[in-house]
Symmetry: C2
Subunit: 334 residues, 2 copies
DNA sequence: ATTATTAGAGCAACCGCTTGCGCAAATAGT
DNA sequence: ACTATTTGCGCAAGCGGTTGCTCTAATAAT
């Protein structure tokens, strides 16, 4: 296990007959330095394959070059592809900026992991994905002076958020369905209202009806993603109203709905039309392909990182940034 | 933004009239120290709410207290719940050991992210989840003297791996089906053979037949998870053989299979039986519930971290650790 | 030609913690 | 009672970068 020491600042300084400071400045481009030496240094760095020791850099700059990402560990939530896709965007954008993403798994109302990371000063800032409404995390982070960005909505209008425009998306989708279906035949099925995202969706749904001068009649709020019993009951109640179209809040619900419909002998789109949020691999490979609002989770993650990075660099950032959905009309609603 | 400096070693040393070194030793318990002062220090730390600066600790100890986790970023793979669940186990176990998990998203055959993290010395070790067979990563890591553990299989019998025993699991499942179904009616549907895990599954499948003194006849290896066209074609070919049971390599395939069967008007388990690997929320909430091999991804992740940690501490660790599946017989095969 | 200014580079302190070494006091050995 | 050990603690040198300040040489200004 003879590990030949990594080359360090000193080495390349020696090789060029310069001092550490000069080399350091050549790299960062911060102080005053001649373009000539600068290039010589950069050249030498390449040749000697020098990579700075980020830990040392961190210590002296008081920056970690890490950002924390809190993701829920509750099993049902965890399995939603959203978080993982989002994580990819975060990871990618971090890499671009020479940062890294450390994950912070949190269980409902348990801030201990987050606290640990904050106390240990392991990150420069934090990204919260899909917060539950109580805002406990935000409060804690603020108290500890830790900058953060939320992916989703926040009750506090002062926090920086990035979100898909669920309200507009759901409104657009609903309006589209209202064009060729009677208002009383359109149903909505959502996950728990504990997640702010579902509130947004609901308000878009209602807005579309308001615009059309009518009111929703068939509607279902399905509040517990984990309980199969509750889902079945809710489904039965919903189907009794004989909706002609159903909008699903997410693709997990949609898959279960589709299975249920198939059990009932109803075929899509002939007997009933179905549309959903988010475009996981399920929805476009399903037969028939499902109309959906395309949800670029990767982009959301990447944008959140950008916002956070800008904050850390002291720039003014746009609060409450909203990304547009793309509505993809497919066979399930034709 | 007036951030009152965090209390540091010096402060608590001053408060007690001791030196930094003594306090440091009191914390780590490494040097020689009287139990009396030790307790006083610990007490004072609590009172002054001291948390060591991990960066400084890292620099002097030459340890990062971070472990890297490479996860695939290819969209289809990414959406598999496996990785995320696994990540939860990793995160949890890291926390227990006061470490953190940094994520390394990699796209097929692109080692650049991994290289960046390694070069930057951001981690003490790395966990690779579900490697593709070529072993490029492993080679790179070895060359850079970076310790690692693989979740899955490796071609190199010298690397430390943790995996569910897919061979045994698939054998058990197949044997169970062979008890009440004719051998020629059992089909298998797998993802790409590029993933070693599918090889293991296949060999377990074959082993069960061998034990029963017969050979598999209906069999399908579905090699491209992303191509819907290929999936359809493969399905058609499979169904032509009129299997009475189908084993799916993972729950994603299973969901698609179920959708397809439903389209064909076949009902489970009356017309055809279905069993699968991994127990995502899909499989047990589906109607009927699907027989499956329960795959504790969280435990896999946690175990990988333990193994890696032990390696880093210089202990001997068990190579090729295998975790048992639990077979859960449900209605889909009754 | 002489002075004022600036550009280029080096010295050394610092970031906050660990640790090898040294020294005095306490304990053990004979 | 006197030396040999051991115990408890402090000093100061790292770890590998960054950065404020200083100094000299080069350029600009008068």
């Amino acid at each position: 296990m003879e590990k030949n020491k990594k080359t360090q600042l000193e080495d390349i300084a020696a090789a060029l007959g310069l001092s550490k400071s000069t080399v350091s400045r050549a790299i960062s481009g911060k102080g005053r330095i001649s373009t000539d030496t600068r290039e010589r240094v950069l050249q030498c760095i390449k040749e000697m394959n020098y990579r700075p020791n980020m830990i040392a850099k961190s210590l002296s700059e008081n920056k970690t070059y890490n950002i924390g990402t809190v993701i829920p560990m509750d099993s049902a939530e965890t399995e939603a592809p959203f978080f993982q896709t989002c994580l990819m965007g975060i990871s990618k954008e971090c890499a671009v900026r020479d940062h890294d993403a450390v994950i912070i798994g949190t269980e409902k109302n348990d801030l201990s992991q987050l606290k640990r990371v904050v106390d240990n000063r392991k990150v420069d800032g934090i990204i919260i994905t899909r917060p539950v409404a109580d805002g406990g995390m935000e409060k804690m982070l603020r108290e500890n002076g830790m900058p953060f960005v939320v992916i989703g909505q926040s009750v506090d209008k002062d926090v920086v958020t990035v979100d898909s425009d669920h309200t507009a998306g759901c409104r657009e989708l609903t309006s589209y369905l209202l064009m060729s279906n009677p208002p009383e035949s359109i149903g909505l099925i959502l996950g728990s209202m504990e997640h702010t995202v579902n509130k947004s969706r609901l308000s878009g749904f209602e807005a579309a009806f308001a615009e059309a001068g009518s009111k929703p009649s068939v509607q279902l709020v399905y509040t517990d993603v984990e309980s199969e019993l509750q889902f079945s009951k809710a489904m039965t109640a919903l189907m009794k109203q004989q909706p002609a179209c159903i909008i699903c809040g997410d693709d997990m619900l949609c898959m279960r709905l589709l299975a249920e419909l198939s059990n009932l002998g109803l075929s899509v789109p002939d007997d009933i039309k179905v549309a959903s949020f988010y475009d996981s691999v399920f929805l476009d490979s399903y037969l028939p392909p499902i109309t959906s609002l395309i949800y670029n989770a990767t982009e959301l993650g990447a944008t959140a990182v950008s916002q956070l990075m800008d904050m850390l660099e002291g720039e003014e950032v746009e609060k409450q940034k909203l990304m547009h959905f793309e509505m993809l009309v497919r066979r399930s609603t034709m």
